[in-house]
Symmetry: D2
Subunit: 142 residues, 4 copies
């Protein structure tokens, strides 16, 4: 596993809309998972990597294999959130992320998660080595 | 357009979970659209038609082309709803449904919708005639 | 009903993420409803109206009463969409919107919808007159 | 922490609909979180505990505090899944669950998760002791 501890953090602003809330008047916890995925997609885009292009060119997809998620404080309708992405490590076919969802107004950390994403073959859905070009682009992202 | 006014109604029970609600403590209105689609899928299954089999055998998909939806009364967490499906008409490549979402407890009509679904080619996403076998199975459903 | 035909259009960019797609590799149609609601929320914010403030100060909520939606062309993962908001009319307790979802790349109109939103009392969920301040802010939005 | 290892498993059937899938033609991983919550809600109901009644009588809500989730095999459109619920432990204000999502057809385990749920006060959203009646009903569930 390569170590990427020094990788600068990427962050994406996410606004909380009605669709994200539940009857407790807070963000429904499963929706933080979506916010963290949006941020990973934008982090890749910031490195010049588009998932649909990767699929066409390399016949590969990313699949989430494992998540650990802590829900620390409620976020509310209309909150402006900041979702960070930090790559913590990479293996032959996997990327390991640490992410946080913070509220802009008071910097409260609402949710924190660790996500292991694996590269899989588009057809077989079986693990596949990460393309070298992708690893190079990620390394250049430093 | 063939007329299917006499078609008996199909109905599917749907329970309201946390995921379905929003901060107004009611079912988030866009979720009724999902409930109505679940009921159409189960109506087809009740006629012996499985959407994944149709896709493999006939290379066809269904796509929603048009919806008119009225939200009449709020539904709440834990409500048991009944979603009905009535086929109102069919064209060469389309099916026209009228559906209701009622609360079991008081028979209140929470949502009513009309949905036009078209048959499209799996590859091109362009309209395609409904397979005759499908029309026969629907007619037999009477 | 007041007429607001000349109201300038508001627009919100929306990116299509994995969460928005379905197995047909297109945006799941019910998700356009969410995109249109996000845009209405941002349109109100652009006029200085925050829904959570309205609720606290006026004890009012907005509820969607009726929608007519046409799905014209598929949108795909990674598409950048533009969601427009045009207020077409307003009644004592209602606002009537026309909205479009267009793909930036080719200006294709993927979805078009008309939505009637009513002002309801937070407690009773029954219709309530739109606050005059809100109507003034909307009128000033011209 | 009380130990509940011997607690019989509860299970809920869940059908995969279009809304649950993504462009990889599999169940979008965040949706397993919803399936597991539906099963916990039905497990409580099977013990005579309704979340809306708990809220009205005890002024309490459940909130998810922590999840560990593994995505082991893809599930597909139309799959009939079985979602199990096993209570592994309980603390003064928390319940600890282990859950699995299996495909009926081949018993493949698609997703496995551990979820810590805490009891919170409806108003303050701060932790609150589990009502004794609830613990008794859970113990009787053996």
């Amino acid at each position: 596993m390569s170590n990427h501890q020094d990788q600068p953090r990427f962050s994406l602003p996410v606004r909380v809309y009605y669709e994200d809330t539940d009857l407790n008047s807070v963000v429904f916890y499963a929706n933080y998972i979506k916010f963290m995925e949006r941020a990973r997609t934008e982090w890749l885009r910031s490195l010049g990597i588009e998932l649909d292009v990767l699929r066409r060119r390399e016949g590969m997809l990313f699949a989430v294999q494992r998540m650990e998620t802590e829900f620390l404080r409620p976020a509310f309708f209309n909150d402006l959130l900041t979702v960070t992405v930090a790559l913590r490590g990479s293996g032959g076919a996997s990327l390991d992320f640490v992410q946080e969802v913070r509220r802009e107004a008071d910097a409260a950390c609402c949710c924190r998660g660790r996500t292991k994403v694996i590269c899989v073959d588009e057809k077989t859905l079986r693990p596949k080595r990460l393309p070298k070009t992708l690893l190079a682009e990620i390394a250049d992202g430093h």
